[in-house]
């Protein structure tokens, strides 16, 4: 065996979108505002995944304005409608769809006034990127003007949306039930190098293919997958919260080991889009599922490289070398038995 051994492994995964085994709900308010801008108010919780930008894109698309012209009033229980928690890979699905519904209502209000003003069919009116026009006619104006027209006719173009996801509870005896209305699937391949002198494992490449329904912001989806992969890698190889009689031995980041910039692979993302038929946007989610296949893919790759099967995470250098040593013992035994 050479010092550095390489191998590959893969793992697949699945995941449910939004709250589990229950009905999930989210609400939003929308208003097309002066200057052709827009306000969205919803109890959304940006925890870094980029949901505010996703909502701005959805609102921009639905209202025909620019994303940077959207103002989002986010989570304040006294000021914004309930959209519930940041978790369960639910925000794009639940809040994204509620924002889309709210925007559609606001837009329809504006369109009704403008159609009357232009004397065209409401269905002919389209808008994008700050402009609004009637297809099949020469009517075209800025969203700023359109809002002005609407307001001068005495109407504020507002809307609200509530989106529901229908999960059902599990039977307490046999667990049967329909916990989610949308599922996503994923698959990752890992390539590793195992140092047989130190037992260190370096992950050199991850190929991550994930169904997200519809990628609102592909770069943001990549960011979620890359972050999920590296958290999965941390759990696979180094992270370990240790207790001794209830007292932690890993008080700080000197002892609780996280991946640094030198510990991560090249991450190759493939976004697969199988749109959700049960929601206006077709988007599903990616926050949590990205992490699921990483650790088993790495363990399968380690086995491929050196024949050591790690069944207890994390795969520390020490466990790898112990595994190599017991492989050697087994080989010796089998040689003796053969003799």
């Amino acid at each position: 065996m050479q010092r550095k051994m390489r191998g590959r492994g893969m793992a697949a995964s699945w995941y449910g979108i939004a709250r589990t085994a229950t009905i999930d709900r989210a609400g939003a308010w929308a208003e097309l505002d002066d200057g052709g801008t827009a306000k969205i108010v919803t109890g959304v919780t940006e925890i870094g995944e980029g949901i505010l930008t996703v909502l701005a894109q959805i609102a921009a698309e639905e209202l025909g304005v620019k994303p940077e012209d959207i103002t989002i009033g986010d989570n304040d229980t006294a000021r914004s409608p309930e959209a519930a928690h940041a978790g369960a890979t639910r925000q794009t699905y639940m809040i994204g769809n509620s924002v889309a519904l709210a925007c559609r209502e606001a837009f329809a209000r504006l369109v009704a006034e403008l159609a009357d003003h232009w004397d065209v069919e409401p269905d002919s009116i389209k808008a994008f990127d700050g402009e609004i026009w009637s297809e099949g006619s020469n009517f075209k104006t800025s969203m700023e003007d359109a809002v002005d027209v609407c307001k001068k006719r005495g109407v504020v173009p507002v809307g609200s949306g509530s989106f529901t996801a229908h999960g059902t509870g599990l039977d307490p005896e046999d667990g049967s039930g329909s916990p989610w209305q949308a599922y996503v699937y994923g698959c990752q391949v890992a390539e590793v190098e195992v140092d047989t002198v130190t037992g260190e494992v370096q992950v050199l490449g991850i190929w991550a293919a994930h169904d997200v329904g519809r990628a609102i912001n592909p770069r943001g989806v990549e960011g979620q997958i890359e972050g999920g992969v590296v958290q999965g890698l941390g759990q696979a190889l180094m992270e370990d919260y240790q207790l001794e009689d209830g007292h932690t031995k890993t008080h700080g980041f000197a002892k609780y080991i996280l991946p640094t910039s030198l510990d991560i692979p090249q991450i190759n993302t493939v976004i697969v889009e199988d749109p959700d038929p049960k929601s206006p946007l077709g988007a599903k989610g990616i926050g949590e599922p990205a992490l699921v296949p990483t650790a088993p893919a790495i363990m399968n790759a380690i086995y491929d490289a050196v024949g050591v099967r790690i069944t207890a995470l994390p795969a520390t250098p020490e466990k790898i070398l112990a595994g190599l040593a017991s492989l050697k013992d087994r080989k010796l035994q089998s040689v003796e038995a053969a003799e």
């Binding site: 065996m1 050479q2 010092r3 640094t260 040593a325």
Partner: protein, 305 residues
């Protein structure tokens, strides 16, 4: 949380020694301070209040380095990043850039001193094995009446055990001195749980001088750390290699010995496995650094498998 009544920043050695001698019990002398601040936190020492902290980083006599008579005198304020960036230090201490690049990170290396790393006497200290390999000595100053007296101790006599050194009350480390190793190839091997900001489980360093053809080892220095209470110089192995023709077989053979030296109370088996491979890797990497890489081995079983 670390607090103190007095924070002193003396400008001269004399001033520092006077302050240190007169400091109330429990006062601390600091240089980089990169270890004391994390120490005074929950899970370690907790909140600590000190009567005085005496910070020597502005003491002029402790700054800079000097190369003379085959020795390098590193002022106690020399920080790890200098070993990476200073061409003269890289030339004379060829294992130190590799040691430093593994030490903490670029930012902590701007503050953390080699002298501080040694005086903390951690069994996992990265800085001590290279100094040991380079016949390092610790220069200690103290007050004798009105004048400053200096004594020198070999680093193996200075570092006595985990957290224990031969430092006497009132003494301040003024310098670390070592052989100039210009012309040697250097290396540093380290394994921890990741590749940056990491504490050594095991580390090893080598310095080699070959004949111009790279066939024969004129001189070799080897030291290992993380394997027991104090880092070790591998003088026996050096003797077996010195003046010998370089061969992979020879290097492999001598690398079989160090595991017996591993005395750590924890993870002993693991450290034994690693040490054997590390001694071999350190020698081979140092030869490569010297410009005479040993021919790649034919694929074969790693020694411990």
């Amino acid at each position: 949380m670390l607090t103190c009544d007095q924070y002193h920043m003396p400008q001269t050695l004399k001033e520092a020694l006077v302050l240190w001698n007169n400091a109330p019990d429990g006062s601390r002398l600091v240089a980089g301070a990169t270890d004391i601040l994390p120490w005074a936190r929950e899970g370690r020492a907790g909140d600590v209040h000190l009567p005085a902290m005496i910070d020597v980083t502005k003491v002029a006599e402790l700054n800079g380095y000097k190369v003379a008579d085959g020795r390098v005198r590193l002022g106690a304020n020399v920080v790890f990043q200098q070993f990476l960036e200073d061409d003269t230090l890289r030339e004379h201490l060829p294992c130190m850039p590799y040691c430093s690049v593994w030490f903490a990170d670029d930012q902590i290396r701007q503050q953390a001193t080699l002298a501080g790393n040694i005086v903390n006497a951690s069994p996992a200290a990265d800085g001590t094995p290279p100094v040991l390999a380079m016949n390092g000595e610790i220069e200690l100053a103290r007050l004798e009446g009105e004048s400053v007296a200096v004594r020198t101790l070999a680093v193996q006599d200075f570092v006595q055990g985990p957290g224990r050194t031969a430092l006497q009350p009132g003494e301040i480390i003024t310098a670390v001195t070592c052989d100039s190793m210009a012309g040697y190839g250097g290396s540093f091997e380290k394994v921890g749980q990741r590749r940056s900001l990491v504490i050594s489980a095991v580390c090893a360093t080598a310095l080699v001088m070959t004949d111009p053809a790279g066939q024969r080892l004129e001189d070799i220095r080897l030291a290992i750390g993380g394997i027991g209470p104090v880092p070790l110089r591998l003088a026996d192995i050096e003797d077996k290699l010195r003046s010998k023709t370089i061969s992979r077989e020879l290097i492999t053979e001598v690398s079989m010995q160090p595991p017996a030296l591993v005395a750590s109370r924890t993870r002993r088996e693991y450290r034994r496995w690693v040490v054997r491979g590390f001694v071999q890797a350190a020698i081979e990497d140092a030869l490569a650094d010297a410009g005479h890489p040993i021919a790649p081995a034919l694929p074969k079983e790693a020694e411990h498998v």
